[in-house]
């Protein structure tokens, strides 16, 4: 099976992200592979192993996003491709989907595309389904488990009400959730291989597409309202006494 894992680079989840002068600042926090996309790479590698296939990591981003691709390579991806172009700085999810679909078609012969369920930055989670729509391939979203059999892919989709088991013929687009399994740590050999890897860069020209103008644009960036941070510590003679006082306080706040 020829599998593509789509990833993105984002500020580390530990970062204190702030709005400063209308811009997003994450201080000196490092840029890392989007944590959800580590699960995508893990899911892709599981299917590579199950089907004796290959995994190509694919990313849209600046030159520095190669670091995220190297993480995927160190985990076990066979190769990596960066799509980079100044025109891509302002694209929205529809733009990303069109560009990714063009890259997937250029790679050719792809059986399965795996995404994480959303990114930590914008967090809209739209790109997987939009990429599937551009390609005209079935979308198997929010998979907690993937099984490949006779050219068909079956996933257990994690929904509000439980799990829905959905089957489609490949090629398919999948997004995965955490139940797919903890992402493996890069091996020592993997890290060595990744550090030496030559990652090709494709421009929009190489893909023969243009960057669609974003439909949704930001007009304002806001820090969340500060919370009233004066905590009142409840003490008492016994746990029952503390519980009694706390319950009264909570009931008086009318939040029940």
């Amino acid at each position: 099976m020829k599998i593509i894992a789509c990833i993105k680079q984002v500020p580390d989840s530990e970062a204190k992200v702030r709005a400063e002068g209308g811009k997003i600042s994450w201080g000196d926090a490092p840029l890392v592979i989007n944590p959800f996309d580590e699960y995508a790479v893990e899911g892709a590698l599981q299917q590579k192993e199950a089907t004796s296939g290959t995994v190509t990591a694919l990313c849209i981003g600046p030159e520095s996003a190669k670091e995220a691709l190297k993480h995927a390579l160190a985990m076990g991806a066979d190769d990596a491709i960066l799509v980079s172009d100044p025109a891509l700085n302002e694209i929205d999810t529809v733009g990303a989907a069109r560009v990714l679909a063009a890259a997937i078609q250029k790679i050719g012969g792809v059986d399965m595309v795996v995404f994480g369920r959303q990114t930590l930055d914008s967090g809209s989670g739209l790109t997987p389904a939009q990429t599937a729509r551009v390609l005209g391939w079935p979308m198997l979203g929010l998979a907690g488990q993937i099984k490949v059999e006779d050219g068909s892919v079956t996933v257990e989709r994690v929904i509000e009400e439980g799990r829905q088991i959905v089957k489609a013929k490949s090629p398919v687009v999948i997004s995965v959730v955490q139940s797919i399994g903890e992402p493996r740590y890069p091996s020592f050999m993997g890290i060595r291989k990744a550090s030496k890897a030559e990652i090709p860069i494709w421009s929009l020209n190489d893909l023969g597409v243009s960057a669609p103008a974003p439909i949704v644009t930001r007009t304002e960036l806001m820090n969340p309202p500060a919370r009233d941070t004066n905590v009142e510590i409840i003490t008492g003679e016994s746990p029952a006494d503390i519980a009694d006082k706390l319950a009264d306080k909570i009931i008086a706040e009318k939040v029940l």
Partner: protein, 337 residues
């Protein structure tokens, strides 16, 4: 503003956020509810009781099970012919997907997880959280229709008006499907985190009760998980008395104490309950971001320096294994349960 509201349901069980969307739509004028499925007239009837002025019903056996492609195509066809300005959805696993696809068909896009929607002389402004709710952005959209998914509990749910009715118009379902549904395993979910007014969450601390004696034959890890499960029973009992949902920190999920679907914060859910009780949760930055929209936080933790106390209104520095059951008892008495 001509507004459509997509009513999301699972086998006729409506996601409550759908009614919140209907309530918001009514503030912009008349609201048309969209109901897709098979034999779902009851959902259409309920939509009138929550304020819909009209229902467009795509009722077809192919739509019995939700699948993104036929649902998206049905919506796209409908939106192309009726040209609404706005299509509102609750944010659910289904709507994120079908809105994404339909937006692509309609040369538009989706704004997800809206916490505020304003219309100012025909320009739509939407506020939404980004970076795990560490920041908020206000965005505007140039295309019509604009698709917006609303964050759960960010908008008031309208009162149900029993017996209110209206006209149902049948519309054509698009039936080309690319996948087949082989079955379901429906979990006993209880109250969902997204819709919960009260959430009681446990963290790594719930396993930290050495006085509990695990059954013989368990290794250390099994014993730890077993202890944690006893701890989560206490969390669940308090949640149950308060009619709330059970949440968990990432640490508790990663340690295998409780399924991922219960996770709040980072890679988990961003929640907005009226009351959030955190037991044995220290309060990592991602967890705090995930509960930022909670109206009130109560923290129970052994460590008086735990960051969770910085966002809490009330705190108890103490052992959750003692405090939680006492609190459950106190509420049982006071709430007459």
């Amino acid at each position: 503003m001509k507004t459509f509201v997509y009513i999301d349901h699972f086998k006729g069980e409506v996601q409550p956020g759908s009614w919140e969307a209907l309530g918001l739509a009514k503030t912009f004028g008349a609201a048309t509810a969209l109901v897709f499925g098979s034999a779902v007239e009851d959902v259409a009837k309920a939509a009138f009781e929550y304020g819909a002025d009209e229902v467009l019903l795509a009722d077809d056996p192919v739509l019995l099970d939700y699948r993104a492609e036929p649902y998206a195509s049905t919506l796209s066809a409908l939106a192309s012919s009726s040209t609404p300005d706005l299509i509102l959805f609750p944010t659910t696993t289904r709507t994120r997907e079908l809105a994404a696809m339909s937006a692509l068909d309609l040369n538009s896009n989706v704004i997800t997880d809206a916490t505020a929607v304003e219309i100012n002389s025909d320009t739509i402004f939407v506020t939404r959280p980004i970076y795990e709710a560490k920041l908020f952005e206000k965005v505007t959209a140039s295309a019509r229709p604009q698709l917006i998914t609303l964050r759960g509990r960010a908008f008031p749910k309208p009162e149900q008006e029993a017996g209110r009715t209206g006209t149902i118009t049948k519309v054509e379902a698009k039936t080309e499907a690319l996948s087949s549904v082989e079955g379901y395993s429906v979990a006993e979910v209880g109250v969902s985190l997204n819709d919960a007014g009260v959430i009681v969450s446990g963290g790594r601390g719930v396993s930290n009760n050495p006085s509990l004696q695990p059954p013989a034959g368990m290794d250390d890890k099994q014993a730890e998980v077993w202890r944690a499960q006893q701890g989560f029973k206490l969390v669940g009992e308090l949640a149950s008395v308060l009619g709330g949902a059970v949440g968990a920190s990432r640490a508790a999920v990663d340690a295998g104490y409780i399924p991922y679907s219960n996770q709040v914060g980072q890679t988990g859910k961003v929640v907005a309950p009226d009351l959030y009780i955190a037991a044995g949760i220290s309060g990592a930055i991602q967890h705090l971001a995930g509960i930022r929209s909670a109206k009130m936080v109560v923290a129970i933790n052994k460590d008086a320096d735990a960051p969770i106390f910085k966002v809490a209104r009330y705190g108890v520095v103490g052992d959750l294994f003692v405090i939680l059951p006492a609190l459950t008892e106190a509420f049982k008495k006071k709430l007459g349960k």
